[in-house]
Symmetry: C2
Amino acid sequence: MPESWVNLAERIGSDLHVDLSGPGSRRAVLIRALRDAVRDGRLAPGTRLPPYRSLAADLGLARNTVADAYAELVAEGWLTARQGSGTRVAERAAAPRRSRVPKRAPARSAAPAHNLRQGQPDAASFPRTAWLAAARRALGAAPNEAFGPGDPRGRIELREALADYLTRARGVRADPERIVVCSGFAHALRLLFDGARGAGGGVLRGPSPSSRPRSSRGYPIAVESYGLGFHREILESAGVRTVPLGLDEQGARIEELGAGPRVRGVLLTPAHQFPTGGPLHPARRAAVVDWARTHGGLVLEDDYDGEFRYDREPVGAVQGLDPEHVVYLGSVSKSLSPAVRIGWMVLPEQLVDGVLAAKGEREAWASVLDQLTLADFLASGQYDRHVRRMRQRYRSRRDRLVAALAERAPHITATGIAAGLHAVLRLPRGTEASVVKAAAWQGIALDGLSAFRHPGATMPATDGLVVGYSTPAEHAYGAAVDALCRALPPGDRDHQREQGK
Amino acid sequence: MPESWVNLAERIGSDLHVDLSGPGSRRAVLIRALRDAVRDGRLAPGTRLPPYRSLAADLGLARNTVADAYAELVAEGWLTARQGSGTRVAERAAAPRRSRVPKRAPARSAAPAHNLRQGQPDAASFPRTAWLAAARRALGAAPNEAFGPGDPRGRIELREALADYLTRARGVRADPERIVVCSGFAHALRLLFDGARGAGGGVLRGPSPSSRPRSSRGYPIAVESYGLGFHREILESAGVRTVPLGLDEQGARIEELGAGPRVRGVLLTPAHQFPTGGPLHPARRAAVVDWARTHGGLVLEDDYDGEFRYDREPVGAVQGLDPEHVVYLGSVSKSLSPAVRIGWMVLPEQLVDGVLAAKGEREAWASVLDQLTLADFLASGQYDRHVRRMRQRYRSRRDRLVAALAERAPHITATGIAAGLHAVLRLPRGTEASVVKAAAWQGIALDGLSAFRHPGATMPATDGLVVGYSTPAEHAYGAAVDALCRALPPGDRDHQREQGK
């Protein structure tokens, strides 16, 4: 036992050792030691502590130090001091047994050998140097008020830079006054639909929904028959029912909007249907805007990877056709990194006030520092540069995938347009589950198409793999494609015949 | 009209001028010009466009350029191309009149001459240089996976740095596994209470709340009779009723918790009651933990300005007394800036999984870049240094306020402990509203105590001003105090008698 330990047993009838050699002032060390002793029961409730003068003498400390420590512990509620009764350990109900929190597994389970899950940009490509340079410029130029309470719409610097960029690159009609910055697509959906938050009461909820049973709240929202279950869950947890629209070779079947139950809005991925990969046909683009105008409906345009098209210039946003009936939604999660929690909505005028009310005056949510940095990153052309660089990289990855398939599995082809961060490989009917399993055996993490199917979808199911070719680091990509090819079913005549049916 | 303008009137029977001198490629300029013309009706639906060859000749452009532009606008849905019918402007329901969005006033109305509203740190003091240096170190050291999908608990680097800091500086028992990073105090409250979000269904809601009318959902939460209305609103918008606890010279009257309707939890500001300014008495600290243990209740400890105490070392957090019954809540909004959207909860073990489920695997919310930077800022000692600097600054501001009152309005005193970012000035009974009005006449923005009173509070009301002395910039503070003294009521004998009652 170190010399600095002092046994208080005689003084207080308790086997208490105090180690005064720890870091920090003597006062702090004594406080910590006494607190720990009370906490874990070595100093029992009601125990009378020695007068501070005696303890100071025992410990070789200044009297003030011990008196201060007692006073602190009295103030914190560990000890009580009463005239005539001295200083005692506070009486309290018995402390519960302290349980050690088990170490939790990380949110994602252990990394697979080859991660081909869709949805993530190459994390190794985050432009750290350029981002830091932008941060330095932005923080240097920011007015002091930027560090005060935030505008719920987001920083004006960012909204102006976004308006320029979205107009130029995505054909969006983007007035800074109609842009609301948020922390990502999911946050945007919640602001639009989640009635329980803020004064807005859910901008797009049906009338007076709170008193109705969940199933009949408001009007349903139409979604594509294949899409992210995560988005459907957000809507459903806000009490909004989703109804599936069929998909065909022209994209979402807009004509179904008029047929079923009355829907209030439709969530689409027009530039690049997620995950099946086609663009929305021009006629359908026009039709959905017509539908919205005629029925007072709203189009939610999820432009999740609109910058990434490899065969031609990206098609502009549907929002440009009618900004009063389309909410344009984007984020940097695919183009830069989901670690930068910034997304945006370009809103019809009639929704701006409601969304701001739902967001609340008091919460800016997205980091102002990141907002200022992104504004500089956009305005300085660094964002374009980064997107160009990643476009080349992803395009080459897609080409490598297609070439590998042509050579090693010519019966399997990538469908959809040359765009985005993922490809869909069509599989022979009935084989998807076994191929996903075979891929897992090869150490590959990826999802089959069925993982994205709306539970209520009525269109015929298709077997396929959703291959996120942007996820692996550059050096790991070749091995991942190699493993994938090994997991694909053999291309015998039977399979080819089946495909031809 | 510039030479570059071409009138397409003859070709298409419409007075269309195309300005080809704008920025960008010829193709991009042509696309924009045609899109604009369709959009604002100069090119009416059904109008047949000239064949691309003729238009190219008219405009002096390559044929490919015009053909590409037509193809783009067809893909975007502005034009239609049908065999035999040529290229026409798409038929659509009439576009609504485009309304210009009115410029909105900024979220806060025009800055007052002297802003003495509580709740904001001095925005001019944000440590830009030190923060950028930390960002540089943090981004340089971060592993690539930091730029991938986030852990819903927050980055481990930050949780570890917070655990060290909170243990050391605030007496919190903080295991990194029990810390959940969020974007601020309001986000934390929503994660705990807002049943509509995520799978958690509101961690602290009563059983099966969704089918009940709002008023009877779950158990109420007790709050202090004076506090932030904003916090009450968050609870109430989540369907949680709040019941006020009285305050006396020892702080919140914990004994009332057992008396009224059964409450599930209590939200307290133990270190520095907001806004009245006293600490929670040691006996009350022990009593609230006892109550929580006995009744299975939960204490929510809002440690909003615990670092700022000027007369002594800060009293440690109540959470240290019993981490299984206290949720410790903090953020950098007062210590650094609300522009850094980072807060944290230290949770009882039984709540960790529920909060993570409510937060959702897919949303990290707080910027990962800021999280990494703050982790470095804490671990490198920069955070302590900044807090020390601000403590001196705010202490001196509080001293200047107290000295000015002693000299110019000796009948008015600052109550509460020497701590935090605001002071409360007690006013003669019945004068608060007129003094707030007089202050507004002096160009001062501040609130009276009554602005913070729970609508259901039954304790006697007190007249007072809540003076946020941290808000003005350093150079503006003297003038603000000066203006405040001018707005205070005169200290004649009548007033003194009334105070003495």
